[in-house]
């Protein structure tokens, strides 16, 4: 039952996992490297937020309501949802799931209490007003209490035969190189189970996965395909498509602000001006990413961007301008002599850019930055040890600079909190888990807290505008580009894919919105 050319109506949707050379039968959603499609096709959340169009789709919950004071939120569960073993979904399941989550993985610090006033209602009480919580809570998978409560050590439970509410829950033909997920017989929206099932394939890396993809043996990939126009689309222009909405996390060049001269915003901005973002996105990222702007919100949070900030001259520091960069550096006191710039202490202006060795595209990004810096007389060294080693220097604040991701959520709250809040700043040599560049601003703190407390979008937007201004002034990090959500597919066997015209979800096959695709695709009848 090969995938290629099969349009028998019973064809399986073939999805590769380029990051899993082999599969192990583990469908425990708490596990960091859980079996593919566990959180997408087996377990479902209360609500599905799609970053592609920013829409929220009610899922296991039909509606939710935030308390006026922002200190609680109440979900109403959908009627008639059944687990794949036929038992009904109840509010107790939701309560149990969050209890287990806090016990096993923690998080949800703001969550005070989860209660189920009745079988269809769940209330989440917070210890402070916290509006971003809705996405986190509603996006969380829900587990059946009647199964999990019996497990002695749920953390170490491999859950070989999962019971979930999702569309495809039945594990079949499990091999280390592939397995199948078949229809959930008790699915709550059977009319949307158009496809017979999913087939997951294991690949030892992008190369082999891409080979299968360009050969038409899998339907849908999110691995990076080099020169996709030539290697994929050109093979079958009619059916082969790709789409990369800019919805990912902002990728920044972050400079260690505890070190001179990077403590000087003028220097950070000057360096930023030297960087050729166009070349970075076109060459290093193969044109699959969009350049950032001075708010750090371009792409993913376009709707939050404040035009007054974006269009003001204070936003020029993310535009490539070698002369201006050189001038700014001169002005800041870093003079050039014989093509080389010196620091204030007379030493040559050099810096390291650390990137994990596994991220080859980011190494290219760093190499381009290195070339750009050479144009303004600064010598950069690209250091690419293993990520673990890089991470240690980030954690301890001993690095010079690095290419780093940032928090990504439904609102800019995570992003700004991560790069500007004093609350997440750690002293050098104390382990930090975010804000490695160690920049904090009290003014930003106020805005961030207010943002979290606000329950209406208008207030949130106002606070976000303030944060943008601060960001554009301080340049806590040098934003480079939005990490795209890669995705490509062929519609020879299945139709109904999200596209730029119909962006109901991203083309990711491992995000919350994946279930939207699974319940939309229809097999092509041969």
């Amino acid at each position: 039952a090969g995938a290629a050319g099969d349009t028998s109506r019973d064809q399986l949707l073939t999805v590769p996992r380029e990051d899993m050379g082999t599969f192990t039968r583990n469908f425990n959603p708490f596990s960091p490297k859980v079996g593919p499609m566990t959180k997408e096709a087996i377990y479902e959340p209360l609500m599905v937020h799609s970053p592609a169009d920013g829409k929220d789709t009610p899922w296991l919950a039909t509606k939710w309501e935030q308390a006026k004071d922002g200190r609680s939120i109440t979900f109403t569960l959908r009627d008639g949802v059944k687990w794949s073993d036929g038992k009904p979904l109840t509010a107790a399941d939701v309560v149990y799931t969050f209890g287990l989550q806090k016990k096993l993985l923690g998080g949800f610090d703001y969550l005070d209490k989860v209660t189920a006033p009745d079988a269809h209602t769940v209330t989440f009480a917070f210890n402070k007003p916290f509006s971003p919580s809705v996405y986190e809570i509603a996006g969380h998978f829900i587990l059946p209490e009647h199964i999990w409560a019996k497990i002695k050590d749920p953390a170490k439970f491999t859950n070989p035969d999962p019971v979930g509410t999702g569309p495809y829950t039945k594990v079949e033909k499990f091999e280390s190189q592939s397995f199948e997920l078949r229809k959930n017989p008790s699915y709550w929206q059977p009319e949307k189970q158009h496809i017979a099932g999913l087939r997951l394939l294991a690949f030892s890396g992008n190369d082999s996965a891409n080979l299968a993809f360009t050969n038409g043996e899998v339907d849908w990939t999110q691995s990076f395909v080099p020169d996709i126009e030539k290697s994929f689309v050109a093979k079958d222009k009619k059916h082969n498509h790709y789409w990369f909405p800019a919805t990912g996390a902002m990728i920044n060049w972050q400079l260690n602000t505890t070190k001179a001269p990077f403590d000087d915003p003028a220097v950070r901005k000057a360096l930023s001006m030297a960087v050729d973002r166009d070349k970075i996105t076109k060459v290093a990222m193969n044109g699959y990413a969009n350049p950032a702007d001075c708010t750090g919100l371009a792409g993913t949070y376009d709707s939050w961007r404040d035009a007054s900030v974006v269009n003001s001259p204070s936003c020029d520091w993310t535009k490539h301008d070698v002369k201006a960069a050189a001038k700014a550096l001169d002005a800041a006191g870093y003079k050039e002599k014989g093509g080389k710039r010196t620091l204030k202490n007379g030493k040559p202006f050099t810096l390291d850019i650390s990137v994990g060795s596994a991220s080859s595209d980011w190494i290219s990004v760093a190499n381009i930055i290195k070339q750009n810096l050479a144009e303004v007389g600064i010598t950069a060294n690209v250091k690419s040890p293993d990520w673990a080693a890089v991470q240690t220097t980030y954690d301890m604040g001993t690095f010079d600079s690095g290419i780093v991701w940032s928090g990504n959520g439904a609102t800019p709250y995570e992003f700004y909190r991560g790069v500007m809040s004093t609350k997440v700043v750690q002293p050098v040599n104390k382990k930090a888990t975010e804000n490695y560049h160690r920049f904090g601003d009290k003014k930003a703190d106020q805005l961030i807290d207010a943002f979290a407390a606000a329950t209406d979008e208008k207030t949130q937007h106002a606070k976000a505008d303030g944060l943008q201004k601060l960001f554009a002034e301080d340049a806590p990090v040098v934003p480079l580009f939005t990490g795209p959500e890669w995705g490509a597919y062929t519609d020879t066997r299945f139709t109904g894919w999200p596209t730029a015209q119909n962006p109901y979800a991203t083309l990711s096959n491992r995000s919350v919105s994946t279930v939207l695709i699974l319940t939309t695709l229809k097999p092509v009848r041969g």
Binding site: N26, S204, Q391
Partner: protein, 325 residues
Amino acid sequence: MRLVLRNLGFYLLAFWASLTLNFLLPRFMPGDPVSRMFAQAQGSMRPDQIAQLQKLFGLDHRPLWEQYLGYVKSVFTGDLGISISRFPTPVSDVIGSQIGWTLLLGITALITAAVLGNLLGIVAAWRRGGFLDSAFPPLLVFVGSFPYFWLAMGALYLFGVTLGWFPLRHAYDVGLTPGLNGEFLSNVVSHLFLPALTIVLVSVGGWMLGMRNSMIATNAEDYITMAEAKGLSPSRIMFRYAARNAMLPSVTNFGMALGFMVGGALLTEVVFAYPGIGYQLLNAVQGLDYPLMQGIFLTITAAVLLANFIVDLVHVRLDPRVRVR
């Protein structure tokens, strides 16, 4: 018997040494698996999960020697811990489901290369200066000079993608149910062909040259002259007298080669997406999955040691002289 025990002693010691090495290595590595995972997630993981994950994985904070004792004990009870990157699958499960393929690939390639190389070597030495002797060694040395992975990729694109003669990946076709039937087995063979071929191509030259030189040296021995003087037939002299003796160094090499084969298989597995533990090891290393890394390394080492031990036993059978020593 004493020899066997002595060898067993050596192998146990070697195993202990690699066990210890294995224990120490990851503990000197910078960073920890959770931060590593966090770095890999690139923004999709929340920072506050780090401490929790560490708790979940049960990262050890006991004194080193206590960890060591616990480690040794658990290894000998067959407990290799729980994989971090595959949490919560036990390491032994991860390895168990894949080592078979690595062994299949490695051993097939090794045996093919050794048998083929040795035969070529025997014939080349016997027909000194003949076609086989003059044309083959440089050719095979040249082919053998290519890196495994390069040859593998070349073969994959040439025979797999362009010509379509062989499958491109995996140990057998997806959707096929493993079983001892002709269809499945032939499918496995067709998947095995290219990966094994690349390893054989790279290594066969070494076998041939080794055997050839060994044969030439043996041919100069007095007992060969004696056999000739006895009027034995050439084929009998070639195989029973010359090759049998010339083979002895090859037998020892065979054990040693197994270790190298695993290395070659590792690179080849990556290229052909062959579901063995080679690729898994690379992943474990990149994910700082100590338990899995240790488990795989230990399993490979144990397999190699075991194979060497068996080879030693075979050697004892083949060479009566070592029996007394």
